[in-house]
């Protein structure tokens, strides 16, 4: 019979906990977080951007090329969100395993129904994405759908551990479904609330919670808010008509605070992804925090 000493000796001699099998390069933190939820210790994740960066404006940094060179799976929002930098990284990284079209390349927004898809795109209308609004992560139902496809890809890339990913997915979906029920119960009071947003970053959240978007601080999507447009917004909302002004952490605070000062409408920072606020430390806490902040601002 093995005594404790033998067990301790064995545990030292045997290889340490199974090494990660899939190296995941996520363009945004939410996909890195989702991959960790499903893959657990079987995967290593790296996020190319943080929640404090506008993912549309990222430098194709050398460090990102080096990370992409070694990645087995790339997970990005897609719908042209990363068009300014991801194609450059892919071209420079010389890694055929993650080229578009391969199993190692996944665009999360390709899995769900995208809003604001526009067949007729004129750049005079600003930074419009012809493939639709890419910020799909703000609806947890989308995350559930993407999780299933992401798990499929993991199973495809690491067949040996397919059962582990299936179990990881099932566990996540169970916890996620319960959380969605909790969020939806907590957020019933938010339905019908009117929001002014800095950029069209929240259309999926709005549809989910029944929020009504009444204006954007950016007159032309992607271009900084102008004084003239903000002046018109003051006239529009100084006697009510909106319940909250929303911006992401990386968006300039001046426009929303200026409008808030003049109209009395509360301005709130909402985490657009994991890490956007001190509270939003994982996907679950991300939505906890979004709803808590919206409830706090509108109560």
């Amino acid at each position: 019979m093995m005594n404790i000493k033998t067990i301790a000796l064995l545990s030292v001699l045997l290889p340490a906990a199974a090494q990660a099998n899939i190296s995941i390069f996520a363009c945004e933190p939410e996909w890195a977080a989702l991959a960790s939820e499903i893959g657990g210790q079987q995967v290593t994740t790296y996020s190319a951007t943080t929640a404090l960066q506008d993912p549309h404006y990222i430098q194709a940094r050398p460090s990102l090329i080096a990370r992409l060179r070694q990645a087995d799976l790339v997970v990005c929002s897609g719908a042209d969100l990363e068009i300014g930098w991801l194609p450059v990284l892919l071209q420079k990284a010389n890694n055929p395993a993650v080229m578009p079209g391969s199993a190692g390349y996944l665009e999360a927004s390709g899995v769900v129904e995208r809003f604001d898809v526009s067949a007729n795109v004129d750049r005079a209308s600003g930074d419009i994405h012809p493939l639709g609004n890419p910020h799909v992560q703000t609806n947890p139902h989308n995350i559930a759908a993407i999780a299933s496809v992401l798990a499929e890809r993991m199973q495809q890339l690491d067949v040996e551990n397919a059962a582990t990913y299936a179990a990881g997915l099932a566990d996540f979906q169970l916890r996620w479904r319960a959380a969605i029920e909790r969020w939806e119960a907590a957020a019933t009071g938010l339905s019908g609330k009117r929001v002014v947003t800095h950029h069209k970053s929240w259309v999926y959240l709005e549809r989910w919670l029944g929020l009504v978007e009444v204006a954007n601080l950016e007159e032309v999507p992607g271009l900084p808010p102008t004084a003239g447009h903000l002046g018109r917004l003051v006239a529009q909302f100084e006697n009510g008509g909106a319940d909250v002004i929303v911006r992401a952490p990386y968006q300039d605070n001046r426009a929303s605070e200026w409008l808030s000062d003049r109209t009395g409408i509360p301005a709130v920072v909402l985490p657009l992804t994991v890490g956007g606020t001190d509270e939003a430390t994982d996907l679950f806490r991300l939505f906890d925090d979004i709803i808590a902040r919206l409830l706090g601002a509108t109560s």
Partner: protein, 438 residues
């Protein structure tokens, strides 16, 4: 159906049955109460079912996985874009007489035309050929001496599927040496190239050839490349060695420092041979035959608070170039004379974006050389008495990612007389436009 509900149902049914035969006032009351209870229970259950139905409908509306999964890269095939560049320059001295003593320019180097000029409109076409190759074409529409024409600037294909971090590029391309050399003009921070690029690379080294590149599997970015080039363009010429007249090697390393800063540094060398290379005055050119070694060291440091580039950022970059040239020069009206020169060039620049749309930049560039043989004392090849220098300031305004207007001032102490140069420039892009490299 729960046990409780079925019990109630049985009970109600029994009550109902008994009520037919033994109807009495008290029994009717009890019956009514039981029925009411049953109705209320079912109403809650139906409401619950309705709520779940609504939720299910919402869920499927929210997250219906679409059958056709679209991915960005396939949006346009091929990607076609046009870049418009135009400018207006004003000089105190006549730019037609511009020359830098000791550094006769070759290739495309030299000041821009004075006055209004559309420069060039550049058509870019790119797409993946298949799963193994991708292709790129840059064809500028140019106007020279009143004649318009189309040129082929870059035309290359590159592999997509080589293993082990390797890729190969074939065709005509900007060499990977230095930092600025492979940058397209529309992505430069100043309207013109710094002096070392003008003096040693004919503005920008473009040639036909093959490039092999390897990216190391390390978390520190390491990129090693080698090129074999035709050698038909300055600083080579004449496509020596049966059209294999130049070759280069380059190494780049880079990484991040925290989330605010990232950097890139590299060294590269171009070795070229020239047969009857022309430089200097177009009508009475100098002719060079011999070998040229050009060595470049570069670094770039980029900073943005939290790495959020859109709001505020700063870029500092610099390059140093050493040229070792030996062979013979034929000065107009003279026979070939042995020539051996060590020359250097450098620039240092900073560009700061304090808030969205506006950027401000400053650049210093200069050249230096050791004296050459006394035979060249009275020629344009003799070392200058003062090292050539320029001081430039620029500011540009970008309405969007696709439009930029720029004002540049250069104090030139490199040409025949000190000069103040003012330039206005626009750079506009329509259609598909890929991202820029670091």
């Amino acid at each position: 159906m729960s046990i409780k509900t079925s019990g109630q149902l049985l009970c109600a049914a029994a009550l109902l049955a008994s009520s037919i035969t033994f109807a009495a006032d008290g029994e009717i009351e009890a019956l009514r109460a039981a029925l009411d209870e049953l109705r209320a229970d079912y109403e809650t259950r139906i409401a619950e079912l309705e709520r779940r139905l609504v939720a299910a409908e919402q869920e499927s509306a929210n997250a219906a996985p679409t059958a056709a999964r679209s991915e960005s890269s396939a949006a346009f095939n091929p990607a076609i874009g046009v870049i418009f560049q135009g400018q207006a320059w004003n000089y105190a001295n006549d730019p037609a007489n511009y020359a830098v003593q000791g550094f006769p320019f070759g290739g495309e180097a030299g000041p821009f035309e004075e006055g209004l000029a559309i420069g060039e409109a550049e058509i870019n076409v790119s797409a993946n050929v298949d799963d193994k190759f991708t292709a790129w074409l840059t064809a500028p529409l140019v106007i020279e001496d009143g004649e318009s024409g189309i040129e082929i600037e870059e035309a290359w294909i590159e592999t997509l599927a080589l293993p082990a971090g390797l890729s190969a590029r074939f065709g005509r391309f900007f060499s990977g040496i230095g930092y600025l050399n492979s940058k397209h003009a529309h992505s430069w921070d100043f309207a013109d190239q710094p002096l070392p690029y003008q003096a040693f690379l004919g503005d920008q080294l473009l040639d036909d050839g093959v490039q092999l590149r390897w990216v190391a599997p390390t978390s520190l970015y390491v990129d090693v490349g080698a090129e074999l080039l035709r050698g038909s363009r300055y600083p080579a010429a004449g496509a020596d060695n049966s059209g294999f007249g130049a070759h280069s090697l380059f190494v780049n390393v880079g990484g991040d420092v925290g989330s605010n800063s990232s950097w890139l540094a590299g060294v590269s060398q171009l070795r070229s041979t020239s047969i009857d290379r022309e430089s200097g005055d177009e009508d009475e050119p100098l002719i060079f035959n011999g070998d040229t070694d050009t060595t470049i060291a570069h670094f770039v440091w980029k900073w943005a608070p939290n790495g959020n580039w859109k709001q505020r950022n700063l870029v500092i970059q610099g390059e140093a170039v050493w040229r070792d040239e030996s062979g013979d020069y034929t000065v107009p009206g003279d026979g070939p004379l042995a020539y051996d020169a060590e020359q250097q060039g450098w620039y240092l620049q900073a560009v700061y974006q304090p808030f969205p749309r506006w950027r401000f930049g400053a650049r210093l560039d200069g050249l230096a050389m050791d004296p050459v043989a006394a035979d060249f004392d009275d020629s344009s090849l003799a070392a200058p008495s003062d090292d050539p220098r320029r001081y430039s300031l620029m500011t540009d305004w970008s309405n969007s990612e696709f439009s930029r207007l720029r004002l540049q001032y250069t104090r030139d102490e490199a040409g025949p007389g000190d000069d103040s140069q003012w330039g206005l420039q626009y750079i506009l892009s329509i259609g598909a436009h890929g991202g820029h490299s670091f």
